[in-house]
């Protein structure tokens, strides 16, 4: 394959992105100084727990932040060298769905219930391509075939409620890919689906990505999905990016205590790895809970839950540094984690 030559150069560069919500309770820093780069054809996973800002990062890139109360207050989002944050609304509409598309968690709420599947896909095509109606209808059916929906011509004439959850998500993917975008943002695309359907959809997304060369930002809380699909991983906590590395490095030697806590807190399926299951074994907990975004601690945001935290952590936010080649983390104690800390 030519994948190696294609993965060169960045298609998307997000730098210093800040999205704040101005609420009565105070300023909520939903996304605070988040930067990352996405290479052509690459899959980048953004992981974190609810409220960590992963979805808001995606919406900020798409310029879909609900305003008010939210507003992108800083940073830049370069798509192929052009800053999306500087575009006016019309220009952004031309980019959205055309050069960069998004699929959401719940296909039922993101599809229009009173429009046929074919018309909805056609709408995305009509907005961006100057084609006669018959060609648009054909292309919509073609897209349904591409996402492996059986009897695509018949399905195109049906309404969302007539499709199963998995089929709806396929239709969403067809719509997102209709204009061959350079970047696809998938926000928890399989969270609402059953595990066997999830496997189908992930398989489809990855296959289409290889076929079409689309770069993918996959937002998920499921570390299993991350391990099986992503090449690089960004870990977010309380609106900030705390770690970034290649997927192998993240799982093998996380350099942020939060990442390490996340990996250790999930059941490891020992018997499927050929290990003996230990009865009554305990999972490693991360004590406490995520701080409220309106009431953040002064230093490292993870310090109140971190076993390694000391005075410095509680006072000063750790600088975000490249700790090893290609492996970045914001922690004063990364060396303790990479030194004797590995189990």
């Amino acid at each position: 394959m030519t994948a190696a030559t294609e993965i060169s150069g960045n298609i998307l560069e997000v730098a210093g992105l800040q999205t704040y919500f101005f609420t009565r309770a105070g300023i909520v820093k939903a996304v605070d100084d988040v930067s990352f780069k996405l290479r052509r054809g690459e899959t980048l996973a953004i992981v974190g727990e609810s409220g960590c800002g992963k979805s808001m990062t995606a919406l900020s890139i798409m310029r879909l932040v609900p305003t008010p109360p939210g507003r992108i207050v800083g940073g830049s989002v370069l798509l192929d060298g052009r800053d999306l944050l500087l575009l006016d609304d019309d220009a952004m509409r031309n980019v959205r769905g055309n050069e960069i598309s998004m699929i959401f968690q719940e296909p039922m709420t993101s599809l229009n219930p009173v429009m046929t599947i074919g018309d909805q896909i056609g709408e995305a095509i009509r907005l961006h391509q100057d084609l006669p109606d018959s060609a648009i209808a054909d292309k919509a059916v073609e897209m349904l075939r591409l996402v492996r929906i059986p009897e695509p011509a018949q399905r195109a004439a049906e309404y969302p409620h007539q499709l199963s959850g998995g089929m709806r998500q396929r239709a969403m993917i067809a719509m997102a890919l209709a204009c061959s975008p350079k970047v696809l943002v998938a926000d928890e695309p399989t969270t609402a689906l059953d595990v066997t359907i999830q496997a189908q959809i992930l398989d489809l997304i990855l296959e289409l990505q290889r076929e079409l060369g689309t770069a993918l930002i996959l937002i998920t809380h499921d570390l299993g999905i991350v391990a099986e699909t992503a090449q690089r991983v960004v870990v977010m906590y309380a609106g900030r990016k705390v770690e970034e590395a290649a997927v192998e490095a993240i799982f093998e030697q996380p350099l942020h205590p939060y990442t390490r806590g996340l990996i250790e807190s999930i059941p490891r399926l020992p018997s499927m790895r050929g290990e003996a299951a230990v009865a009554g074994a305990r999972l490693t907990e991360i004590p406490g809970m995520v701080p409220a975004l309106t009431d953040l601690p002064p230093g490292c945001l993870f310090a109140p839950r971190c076993a390694l935290a000391d005075e410095r952590c509680r006072e000063t936010y750790p600088s975000y540094e490249e700790k090893r080649p290609g492996h970045w983390a914001a922690c004063w104690h990364s060396s303790a984690l990479s030194g004797g800390g590995n189990d």
Binding site: S50, G166, V195, A199, Q200, P267, G280, P287
Partner: protein, 339 residues
């Protein structure tokens, strides 16, 4: 070790819960006269038992009937057929008043800790309500017992006065667990009790449930769709598909040597959080059929990669292939596919 525990106690003593031939068919009503035009075969002949101190994991995809099993066991829906025995006592047809003493022995925890707590009651009143209703304690004694329950589940007794909205999701689930523990039940049914929680909080709640089980010899019927969680907490596991149990085994056997093609596909679909493990996935085609009109024969035949002509006509019985290891599949019955 785990298996031995399950088997010994089930042989020696009466199981805490014994369900046999349980069916629940919901009528489908249509038209002005609300005539019954068909049935949803939510559960169609389910049998299992749970010993003291044991956790039975019940897995399956949405619509397979696992939540209906939970509700039927709790007598929150009336079963169409079959029997439910709690510590040897048949509670299937008991009337409300007769059922009441038995209700103390079984409690349920639901998935959504936001929906299952009354927002107008304080956390202390919620946890104390079962004690009050069953006349176990009142006044100062009640407050003391509630405080003790709060401590058991890792909440501060000072939080008794707070209302549900003041707690996080994980804490709310702890309140639900405290309420379930109040009457010292033998059996706790957990219907997706950790599914709505974030992973770091999920670990806290799972650990709490494991600790409480060891302390109090509780039995759990643990219903979940997350196989990693089920593997972690269960001793034995039953896999459901479209209203029936298709495989029943101890967890080590089930996860290392799945017998039913559905179990095999289910395990293959679970994403493993380790990028070093590369495996060929067996991806099932199609969707789960509707329980309103389940396919004839084996309900899984529409998606099964090993389907035979016989599967389309005959329903495979659940039979014991090895001690404690049951499977409902013609492949194994005929000895075509070796274990």
């Amino acid at each position: 070790m785990t298996e031995a525990r399950g088997q010994n106690s089930s042989a020696a003593q009466v199981p805490v819960l014994e369900v046999s031939g349980l069916k629940k068919h919901f009528p489908l009503k249509k038209g002005l006269l609300r005539r019954t035009v068909g049935h949803v075969y939510a559960i169609d002949g389910v049998s299992f038992s749970i010993a003291e101190g044991e956790t039975l994991g019940l897995v399956g995809e949405s619509g397979c009937g696992k939540s209906t099993v939970a509700r039927a066991v709790m007598r929150l829906v009336e079963p169409t057929a079959g029997s439910i025995k709690l510590s040897g006592c048949d509670i299937t047809h008991l009337r409300k008043a007769e059922l009441r003493p038995h209700r103390r022995e079984m409690q349920i925890i639901f998935q959504d800790p936001f929906a299952s707590l009354d927002p107008r009651m304080s956390a202390g009143a919620i946890v104390g309500e079962p004690l009050h209703v069953h006349g176990v304690a009142r006044g100062k004694e009640l407050a003391e017992q509630v405080a003790a329950l709060f401590q058991q589940v890792g909440l501060r007794p000072a939080q008794m006065r707070a209302y549900p909205h003041e707690f996080s999701g994980g804490q709310r689930q702890r309140i639900c667990i405290a309420r379930a523990l109040a009457l010292n039940p033998k059996l706790i049914v957990g219907d997706e009790p950790v599914s709505a929680l974030d992973v770091s909080i999920q670990a806290q709640v799972i650990n709490l449930m494991v600790d409480l089980q060891q302390e109090k010899r509780l039995s759990y019927l643990f219903i979940a769709h997350d196989l990693a969680v089920v593997e972690h907490i269960s001793h034995r596991i039953a896999v459901m598909y479209l209203g029936r149990i298709v495989e029943y085994a101890d967890k080590a056997t089930l996860f290392s040597r799945p017998l039913h093609p559905y179990t095999e596909a289910l395990l293959s679909a679970v994403p493993i959080p380790d990028p070093k493990i590369k495996r060929k996935k067996r991806i099932l085609q199609g969707d789960v059929p509707s329980p309103v009109n389940p396919p004839p024969g084996c309900a899984f035949h529409t998606r099964c990669p090993y389907v035979m002509p016989r599967c389309k006509q005959e329903v495979p019985p659940l039979f014991e292939l090895a001690p404690g290891n049951l499977v409902a599949c013609h492949l194994h019955e005929a000895g075509i596919k070796s274990a």
